[in-house]
């Protein structure tokens, strides 16, 4: 391929901003300067769909209504572990208004084994939701009850009931420990260990490392099961006509859902169309059609009508994913000068009947340490399946690692922030610590527990890392039309992150036209395949493709204009709605006029995400550098009631070139608030006697509401790496990793006693203070 050399911004403005020359294919556009010098990119442009959202016109999947549409409901198990002798659906089938009933069967035609309370077993489609609900009450099941286990520690005992008697297929998402569990090496309910990640396996020798250590911290940290609670539940509306299945889905990944449906039913991908215009939150759990997709499709086929199947709130909590809990053992050693000598990690967690309870690679990747080993185990229990949750594994992992580093600092007699300057090699986190500390007022931090009076204030901080993940299978199409329309199309979806808007900004920047003149058509698998909205990959994957597609269209248009203006194509510039010759500015035509004079009615180009500039590549994808973040927390702890209030968070983040500062700040707010609620409130309560979730709602499952919201200040650090035509990356995962542990460190600073378990509910605070 022909290449050219271009110069790209590299580094952090105000610190070490420079330039780097890279050899790139000639099909790549020239480099953008830093955001300051751009018109639309990097600006807080309003959301494309803001008007639709504030007027109630935005049609989410739950809002879809099609002619003749039926409403479906799952019949679910009311016991956590059983085999099924028989099921009787006659009464349900004969209820007026019922159009189809479907019993789920295994491949060999038998009933599936029940493995958690609330497991879907059958589905009903009826003329109204109320009718469907009545029908499922008429389904009768004869169970053979089996012993079950809910608790992650009890499940590890040799005498514990076995959840899966055979290996289960594989890990789909979650733990982020690199090794895909086949489920084949399960000992009882314990699977693992996973000992390596994409950063490699164990390093050095732990014994040597700990011998060299002058100080050692050895602790066990515990985190709870935490559910996603997207406001729009999981669900689909499926209209399966012969040769054409249309799936409206609340989705983080339309393309993956299309592929799953095609594979499940053994039909061509061309026969499946997944549409997701609006998705009411996902946070990691909405990448798959799960069971509800195939169920709705089966009912649609049986009834010959479209079927609406949205889960209710209780079902959402129980069966559509959660962040697994963790029991996380950590031992970290350091020399007197602070240098880390060894990190040993061992974890057990449960994703219920699924896999993915690893604690990530924070311990492996955040700090340099010559001797490292990890053993991460999944433990099966009779609970609903876990699913990826913003920065899977890493939030649990950071909760331990960043407390241990604070404890080491204290043992070494160092300030925790200053200590990280010694052990952390990341340039961007160094700047984040500096600028964050200044904004936060870190210098006012007092000694642990030194506040007088019953309400004690405390300050803490914590850090995180997330790789710059990219999905190369990310394609966008840009088209301009004679007469004036400009469009971008991709199957990528916008789940509230602002993907739609940044695509408009990128295309507008390339064409030099107002953002409002670009129509963004996404969330539909009839368009070129885009990435999923997960792992913070969407922005870094699809925006370079979008820019490159726009560039191709631009070059074709400029060739046509050059002929008319008698200019060289290379001399033409598109800017401020005009095309002009930079050598002779009398040669000029407006963008709109140029579109009127197009030779064909449309110019269309597609482009896919190209390899990272500079040859940065890992076998599992692309990742150059990291998305570092540093968060600071200030809390008030009432030592009489045990109640913790987060007063303030300063969150310093990098995401390469930020494309829309308003959206980045909004996502940081979200990551922080979810992290705060994880640290203090949210907790799935399972009844060990019955195996049921006891708080499958939004009032007893304590979520953050307005009164709990702290003051949040975000610092967005531009960090250019010269790796793609937009050099932009996501912020979804990084925003959520450090908050809980920053709060834990602040609580310690307030009361002078460390809590090793979240959520830090009042009882835990009072116990730590030996008041109860």
């Amino acid at each position: 391929m022909d290449t050219k050399k271009i110069k790209l911004p590299l580094g952090i403005p105000g610190y070490n901003l420079g330039e780097v020359e890279r050899e790139v294919p000639v099909t790549e556009p020239s480099a953008w300067p830093v955001n300051d010098k751009l018109k639309h990119v990097g600006k807080p442009v309003h959301r494309y769909d803001a008007i639709a959202k504030v007027t109630g016109k935005a049609k989410f999947t739950a809002d879809i209504q099609l002619p003749g549409m039926l409403y479906a409901k799952f019949f679910r198990s009311n016991t956590p572990h059983a085999t099924i002798r028989s099921m009787n659906i006659n009464k349900a089938e004969n209820l007026p208004g019922v159009y189809a009933v479907h019993i789920m069967k295994t491949d060999d035609g038998g009933y599936p084994e029940v493995k958690y309370a609330g497991q879907p077993l059958a589905g009903v489609a009826a003329s109204s939701l109320a009718n469907a609900e009545e029908a499922i009450k008429l389904i009768e099941v004869d169970y053979e009850y089996l012993d079950f286990v809910i608790d992650v520690e009890e499940a590890q005992k040799p005498e514990a009931p076995i959840v899966h008697k055979a290996a289960i297929e594989s890990q789909t998402d979650g733990g982020d420990v690199g090794v895909v569990h086949e489920g084949t090496n399960a000992q009882g309910n314990v699977v693992g260990p996973s000992t390596s990640s994409f950063y490699g396996g164990p390093r050095g020798d732990l014994n040597t490392g700990f011998k060299e250590a002058d100080v050692v911290v050895e602790r066990v940290y515990r985190t709870q099961v935490h559910t996603h609670v997207p406001l729009e539940t999981h669900g689909v509306v499926v209209d399966w006509k012969p040769g054409n299945m249309t799936v409206y889905a609340s989705s983080q990944n339309t393309a993956a859902m299309r592929d799953e449906m095609a594979e499940y039913f053994g039909i061509s991908k061309s026969e499946v169309r997944v549409i997701s215009e609006y998705t009411g939150g996902g946070f990691g759990a909405k990448h798959s059609v799960g069971v509800y997709g195939p169920m709705a499709a089966t009912l649609s086929k049986k009834a010959g009508r479209p079927v609406w199947l949205m889960l209710d709130r209780k079902e959402e909590h129980i069966s559509e994913g959660n962040r697994p809990n963790s029991i996380h053992y950590l031992k970290i050693g350091a020399k007197k000068d602070g240098k880390l000598t060894a990190i040993q990690q061992r974890s057990h967690g449960t994703a219920g009947v699924a896999l993915g309870a690893g604690v990530g690679r924070i311990a492996q990747a955040l700090y340099e340490c010559p001797n490292f080993a990890t053993e991460q185990y999944d433990v099966y229990t009779n609970g609903g399946p876990g699913a990826a949750w913003r920065a899977p594994g890493n939030v649990q992992g950071a909760y331990g690692v960043e407390q241990a580093i604070d404890e080491l600092a204290e043992k070494l007699g160092m300030d925790p922030l200053a200590y990280r300057d010694i052990i952390d090699k990341s340039e961007v986190r160094k700047i984040e610590r500096q600028r964050g500390a200044e904004k936060f007022g870190w210098s006012k931090r007092k000694a642990p527990g030194s506040d007088s009076g019953p309400i004690k204030k405390g300050m803490g901080m914590a850090q995180s890392t997330w790789p710059r993940f990219v999905t190369l299978d990310s394609t966008a199409e840009v088209r301009i039309m004679r007469g004036g329309a400009v469009e971008i199309r991709s199957s990528v979806q916008d789940i509230g992150t602002g993907t739609k808007t940044i695509l408009g900004q990128v295309v507008a920047e390339e064409f030099g036209i107002p953002v409002k003149d670009v129509t963004v058509l996404i969330g539909d698998t009839y368009f070129p395949t885009g990435p999923g909205s997960g792992g913070s990959v969407a922005t870094g994957s699809i925006t370079p493709a979008a820019r490159n597609a726009a560039y191709k269209v631009k070059m074709e248009l400029l060739e046509q204009v050059a002929t008319k203006l008698k200019s060289e194509t290379a001399d033409l510039v598109m800017e401020d709605g005009n095309i002009y010759d930079k050598t002779d500015n009398t040669k000029k035509v407006s963008f709109k006029e140029a579109l009127k004079g197009m030779r064909t009615s449309q110019i269309i180009a597609t482009a896919s995400r190209s390899d990272d500039y500079g040859g940065f590549k890992q076998p599992w994808g692309l990742a150059y550098g990291d998305l570092g973040s540093v968060q600071f927390a200030e809390v008030s702890v009432d030592t009489e009631t045990g109640f913790v209030k987060v007063d303030r968070i300063v969150a310093a983040h990098s995401c390469g070139r930020p494309l829309n500062t308003a959206h980045v700040a909004s996502q940081i707010n979200g990551g922080v608030i979810q992290g705060m609620a994880y640290a203090l409130y949210e907790y799935r309560v399972m009844d060990k006697q019955t195996g049921f979730m006891m708080n499958a709602n939004v009032d007893q499952y304590k979520l953050p509401y307005a009164m709990e919201i702290p003051e949040i200040e975000s610092l967005i650090i531009e960090d250019y790496s010269g790796t793609s035509s937009t050099d932009a990356y996501g912020i979804g995962e990084p925003a959520n990793i450090a908050t809980a542990v920053a709060i834990a460190n602040a609580v310690y600073n307030a009361i002078g006693v460390r809590i090793y378990e979240i959520p830090m509910t009042p009882d835990k605070i009072l116990k730590a203070l030996k008041k109860i």
Binding site: P44, H46, R47, D49, A50, I51, A52, K53, V54, T55, G56, K57, A58, K59, F60, A62, D63, Q65, S128, L129, A130, H228, V229, P230, L231, E232, Y278, T279, G280, G281, F283, D312, R313, I495, G496, T497, G498, A662, H663, A665, S666, Q667, N669, G670, G671, V672, I673, Q674, N697, V698, D699, L703, P704, Y705, A706, M707, I709, E711, I712
Partner: protein, 217 residues
């Protein structure tokens, strides 16, 4: 309950086609399910006062669907609903007014907030038959693309929606609050919005938008 609303219930909610002879109050409750209408009747005695209780006919409002008229966003809409049909379901499933969202379906999240006679209610806990004759305002009635309400404008300006599923409820709560508290401070705004759940963590921008809208209303 204020006197005006009692009067409206007695005058408008029970229309002549509901009135037949030969049914006791207990029969009414049994027929309709222990609805909020029934509870109101017991608490206030309003039915007893305005209509002889034996004239109520359970069959006329249930269990099958009955034709009712609702005043929504200034227009009268006819629809056939069962007594158990909630206002949220009537709006969404019968009238395609899907701006009103159902999230928890038990009055804990305020996503389904609409105004009845100008006051915010959880439409998931309100029966459609309960609000016959009363003025109902939904998010669709607050402003349109061409003529946005100042609160909607402020939500756009301050990026106060991420996924957008909580937004209609947030806007309805915030607007009602500002109509009654023209010059609020941050703490008052938080208190007003404390029942509205958002999972994306957009609250800080909702607060900013509400405070900004106060200056334009």
């Amino acid at each position: 309950m204020d006197k005006d609303r009692q009067k409206k219930i007695s005058e408008q909610e029970i229309r002549p086609e509901h009135v037949k002879k030969g049914l006791s109050r207990r029969g009414f409750l049994r027929g309709a399910g222990l609805t909020t209408v029934g509870t109101v009747a017991l608490q206030t005695g309003v039915f007893g006062k305005s209509l002889p209780e034996e004239t109520l006919d359970a069959q006329s409002i249930g269990p099958d669907a009955a034709l009712i008229k609702l005043r929504i966003n200034g227009k009268t809409r006819s629809l056939a609903v069962e007594p158990r049909t909630t206002l949220a379901s009537a709006l969404r499933d019968h009238l395609q007014l899907t701006g009103t969202k159902i999230v928890c379906d038990r009055g804990a999240c305020s996503a389904c907030t609409v105004w009845v006679e100008g006051k915010p209610v959880n439409s998931c806990l309100t029966l459609a038959v309960e609000v016959v004759g009363q003025e109902i305002t939904t998010i669709e009635g607050l402003g349109s693309e061409d003529k946005l309400h100042p609160v909607q404008e402020a939500f756009i300006e301050h990026d106060a929606s991420q996924c957008g599923f909580c937004t209609p409820g947030m806007v309805m709560t915030a607007t009602h609050f500002l109509q009654n508290h023209p010059k609020p401070n941050l703490e008052e705004v938080k208190v007003a919005l404390r029942g509205n759940l958002c999972r994306c963590g957009t609250h800080p921008n909702v607060f900013k938008a509400t405070l900004a809208a106060a200056k334009k209303m």
